[in-house]
């Protein structure tokens, strides 16, 4: 009975009294509550207030980053009892994976507010919806209690739905309802699985709990764990989205207002990928190994399919949306390779995709504001009238393609390396998509910016305004910074990536066929330095 002993508690460090995570999570919500009091006709006030709140939240998250130190395990953990009778707890904490997701969210939210500056129709509700959304997103990343996570995960649905449906373009209602129902259907299975774990804890650990770190100690029969894995997987695969559950994404992205597309692409999709890493890998290591090939195949199909469909789009926003399907496939491929490189690269790629694709959506939105079209066939020669915008577009497109020196390269390279170690065919499939990405993005760039001016009115279009520079320059700086100096990020991502990977591999090495598998004690032990985990464990 090797696995029956209760393992020592994991490396969990509490917040030392100062509730950083609670503050970061609920600051936007508090801001929304204050904004709700003011009458809607004070347009300017609502805009400025939303900007102030999002900037303050970003400031708070920087404080959180400063307190965070490089080692693994969960840090800044906060615990409180929520409903005593049912043992619902309020547990927050970050590790190297969620840390950067939170930062990405808080970093992009001011941009989302700024890019929505011109929205006049019901601006108050728009800003309030965005602030609530921010709280729910941050909450999803920092919640370490499964019910709390589910609560945030569901709570972000409605504001996003309102943003797409209320302020989107022509087919917005269709897109919003589709987005809502897809996600809701996925999360239904998640809820059942979470409840199952809760009671499993009741019989196995002696007390019912939703606490993630405690649930890792559960011993589950192999079949049960696999079913639960699927329950979690469906919810997150819809969000990521993985082929064939991706069909809501092009509609939602295309119809959403610019800021909505930005947040959808940059943050919401990451919640799916984050959920896969945190919960699927963290709770069901054996099942993850079992389904690895299946997931990698789906990811590979998504990578190539997304890229191929992006190639033939004439609507530039749809093109960027399909490129998201492809890029998120990369993330999932890397993480399910179960190598340190793949996992680190996958997490880094999540940040990169947020920055690059987010910026692409911003630029497409700015172009649409000027030309009132998203049709590539009706644009052309815009580079002459708007050199700065064209330059920024090229810069961002190249970062998305993976030009060395910019952020995309580091992540893609690590993912490819991590995948290559495990399986050459998957790596080859991924490389094909890198080539395709270069084609569709540069070709789109060419059709928009080069060639003759197709529409005479386009000659009069203004170039980037000061506000637009304020949106784009920080993102470009981040793109460049991650590209040339990724080490500070990788230093923090790596311990968490190492731990997650180790957890999957070692559990599988230890598991005997047909027996229960502990939701691993190794998963919650501090990582030791220099453990060679690049080699892949074979499934016993």
């Amino acid at each position: 009975m090797l696995w029956s002993a209760v393992p020592p508690p994991g490396p969990i460090e509490d917040s030392g009294g100062f509730p950083w995570l609670t503050l970061v999570t609920f600051a936007p919500l508090a801001g929304a509550a204050i904004a709700a009091v003011f009458p809607s006709r004070l347009l300017k006030l609502h805009r400025v207030w939303a900007l102030v709140v999002t900037l303050a939240t970003f400031g708070l998250s920087l404080g959180m980053l400063a307190v965070y130190h490089g080692e693994g395990g969960f840090q800044l953990v906060e615990r409180a009892v929520w409903v005593k009778a049912l043992n619902f707890n309020y547990i927050l904490g970050v590790d190297g994976i969620s840390l950067f997701m939170v930062l990405l969210t808080t970093f992009l939210m001011p941009a989302a507010v700024l890019v929505s500056w011109r929205i006049e129709q019901q601006a108050k509700y728009y800003m309030v919806a965005f602030l609530i959304l921010e709280s729910a997103m941050i909450g999803s990343f920092v919640a370490l209690d499964l019910l709390l996570f589910f609560l945030f995960f569901e709570a972000l649905l409605f504001p996003m739905y309102l943003i797409i449906g209320g302020w989107g373009s022509e087919r917005r209602v269709y897109a919003a309802v589709k987005f809502f129902l897809f996600t809701m259907a996925g999360s239904a299975f998640l809820l059942v699985s979470i409840l199952f774990l809760y009671f499993r804890a009741g019989s196995d650990l002696g007390h019912t709990t939703f606490d993630f770190t405690q649930l890792q100690h559960l011993v589950l029969p192999v079949d049960t764990a696999r079913w639960l894995f699927l329950g979690f997987f469906v919810a997150f695969a819809v969000k990521v989205p993985l082929f064939p559950l991706h069909t809501w994404l092009p509609d939602a992205h295309t119809e959403a207002p610019t800021a909505g597309s930005l947040i959808l692409a940059a943050v919401l999709l990451k919640i799916g990928a984050y959920g896969l890493i945190r919960f699927n890998l963290g709770l069901f290591p054996e099942a993850s190994q079992f389904f690895r090939t299946f997931v990698m195949v789906l990811a590979a199909i998504g990578i190539i399919y997304g890229a191929a469909v992006a190639l033939i789009q004439t609507d530039v926003k749809r093109l960027v949306a399909y490129s998201s399907v492809s890029h998120l496939g990369f993330v999932v491929l890397g993480t399910f390779a179960f190598t340190l490189q793949g996992m680190s690269g996958g997490v880094l790629q999540m940040v990169n995709h947020g920055l690059s694709t987010g910026a692409l959506f911003l630029l497409v939105g700015m172009l649409y504001d000027r030309t009132h079209t998203r049709d590539l066939g009706r644009m052309g020669g815009l580079g002459g009238t708007m050199p700065a915008l064209a330059g920024v577009f090229l810069f961002v497109a190249l970062s998305s393609v993976g030009l060395p020196g910019l952020n995309g390269f580091v992540g893609e390279f690590l993912v490819l390396l991590g995948t290559f170690i495990v399986s050459k065919p998957f790596a080859v499939a991924a490389v094909v998509a890198v080539v395709l990405a270069a084609i569709y993005l540069l070709w789109a760039y060419q059709r928009m910016m080069h060639g003759p001016v197709l529409n005479e009115e386009h000659r009069l279009l203004p170039d980037l305004s000061g506000r637009e520079y304020a949106i784009l320059v920080p993102i470009m700086a981040a793109i460049l910074l991650v590209g040339v100096f990724p080490q500070p990020l990788l230093d923090r991502i790596e311990p968490a990536a190492r731990q997650t990977t180790r957890c999957v591999i070692q559990t599988n090495q230890a598991a005997q066929p047909g027996q229960g598998v502990q939701l691993s004690s190794v998963c919650s032990e501090p990582p030791e330095g220099g453990v060679p985990i690049g080699d892949v464990a074979r499934r016993p």
């Binding site: 009778a85 739905y161 209602v173 309802v177």
Partner: protein, 499 residues
């Protein structure tokens, strides 16, 4: 809980030497007394203004509530009986909790009704007494510890509600709804009565603990008892609007004046489920393994049918009626799970009462005089015309759909978790699928409110009375969603059904 079976109280005939304890039924005395006083007062007064009547009704409800709170501490003391009046009335926190919820429902019902009747020009003095009688029936049924009293209370509340449903009898739909409700209600009463007869035949008593005591020793010849359980479940199934006994619901809800719909959709369900929980967890608890599969099946069918039929509705009141059918199914999931499920079902009842009252309050305010604007189309662009009503309605609909951070979400988690714990995870799977289906039509209303242009610009009245009746449920929906511990703390002792 099963281990406590056998504490059979003294049979009614031998209780003459026991001092009569009336305290647990004093709230019903207050309610009925107020109702009678109001009837007399209305007969002699000349004033047309209904406000004094409504205020007096509210005062009666408040007094009953205050006394119930006092009883809360009274029943906890040692030496006080678990059951009074010869085993007729239970004196436990379960009854008190349900009663408090119902009194809250009644208070909001009075406020809504005052506004509605005043606006519709249908204010007549007998309305508030009827509402109070219905409330007394509802509160009594949850406390009834004897099948005879269950039946009496059931009839008290039903007869009052039939009349209230037809209160706008000049509107044909109202008269028709009342007739349908009455016919089907009478039909269900017959089932119920037959069930009581069979239970008496099987055990020789109508006392709930007495029945449990008789049944627990029996191993064979349970056919009569099973028949009784089935017929009683059918009777309750009618009252809570479970499929296939739901036929009256859409018509009655649609035709009744909206304030009555609000009151009865919340009140009847809470009261009938209260009695359902008590009867099946006391009298028929020895047969738990027999009735559980039955309730399981009814719950599954109810959730699915309610959710699917709601999609096809174009009238908001009908849609909410089907939604209330679906919710009966979700609550039945908790009933099936028993034990922990009682607590979950009770939380669900509170959450449901709060959100459905609020939703119908909004419907009432949006539909102008004469119930014209009750189609879904009239919700187009509500967010522009009245942001407050739109926000509140969105909150209620999200809660009905079970989306956090609302009471509806916690309620679903509570009943689902109880069912998973009891091993009924296939039922939970059906339930979550039904929730997703249901989300569709709730979301459709939100789409209309927020994403479409107003079709016609009907001025909505803004009265503070009406705003209160929307704001209070909205605040509670959020409060129970964010701090459910408040309610669970109370439920810990209230969900224990003593017998």
């Amino acid at each position: 809980m099963l281990s406590t079976i056998g504490q059979v109280p003294a049979a009614p005939g031998t209780s003459s030497h026991v001092p009569l304890v009336f305290q647990p039924v004093v709230p019903e005395f207050i309610l009925a007394g107020t109702a009678i006083a109001l009837l007399l007062w209305d007969a002699i007064r000349r004033d047309e203004d209904q406000a004094p009547l409504a205020l007096a009704a509210l005062a009666g409800i408040a007094a009953a509530a205050a006394y119930t709170v006092w009883l809360w501490f009274w029943v906890g003391k040692p030496g006080h009986p678990a059951s009074v009046l010869g085993g007729m009335v239970a004196a436990d926190k379960f009854a008190l909790f349900i009663r408090l919820v119902l009194l809250g429902v009644a208070a909001l019902g009075v406020i809504l009704s005052y506004h509605y009747l005043d606006r519709a020009g249908e204010a007549r003095g007998e309305y508030y007494p009827l509402l109070l009688f219905a409330t007394a029936g509802m509160t009594l049924i949850a406390a009834a510890d004897d099948l005879i009293l269950v039946f009496l209370a059931l009839e008290t509340l039903s007869l009052s509600l039939y009349l209230m449903t037809g209160f706008s009898f000049r509107r044909l739909a109202s008269a028709e709804a009342s007739m349908k409700y009455f016919l089907l209600g009478a039909f269900s009463s017959a089932f119920f009565l037959y069930g009581i007869a069979l239970a008496y035949g099987a055990t020789g008593t109508t006392n709930l603990s007495g029945i449990a005591g008789k049944l627990s020793g029996q191993v064979s010849g349970l056919a009569l008892a099973l028949g009784a359980a089935g017929l009683l479940a059918t009777g309750f199934g009618f009252k809570v609007a479970a499929v296939p006994f739901h036929m009256w619901t859409p018509d009655a809800y649609q035709g009744a004046p909206t304030c009555v719909t609000a009151f009865m959709s919340a009140g009847t369900k809470v009261a009938a489920f209260g009695a359902f929980l008590r009867v099946f967890n006391t009298a028929f608890s020895p047969l738990i393994w027999d009735w559980r599969p039955f309730v399981w099946g009814v719950a599954a069918v109810t959730m699915v049918v309610g959710s699917i039929l709601a999609i096809a509705q174009t009238d908001v009141k009908r849609m909410l009626a089907y939604s209330s059918i679906a919710h009966a199914g979700f609550i039945l999931v908790g009933v099936t799970a028993a034990d922990k499920g009682i607590q979950g079902a009770m939380f669900y009842l509170v959450a449901y009462a709060t959100m459905i009252l609020g939703a119908f309050a909004v419907v009432m305010l949006v539909s102008v005089r004469g119930e014209r604007n009750v189609s879904l189309v009239s919700y187009a662009g509500l967010a522009r015309r009245s942001p407050f009503l739109a926000v509140a309605m969105a909150l209620f609909l999200l809660s009905l759909a079970g989306i956090p951070p609302t009471a509806g979400f916690i309620a679903k988690v509570a009943v689902f978790s109880a069912a998973v714990q009891a091993g009924y995870w296939p039922l939970v799977l059906i339930a979550v699928i039904a929730s997703v289906i249901a989300a569709f039509f709730y979301i459709r209303v939100i789409v209309l409110m927020y994403m479409q242009e107003p079709a016609e610009s009907v001025e909505l009245e803004r009265t503070s009375v009406a705003q209160v009746s929307v704001a209070v449920p909205a605040a509670l929906t959020l409060l129970f969603g964010v701090l459910p511990g408040l309610l669970f703390g109370v439920l810990k002792s209230a969900s224990v059904i003593r017998f």
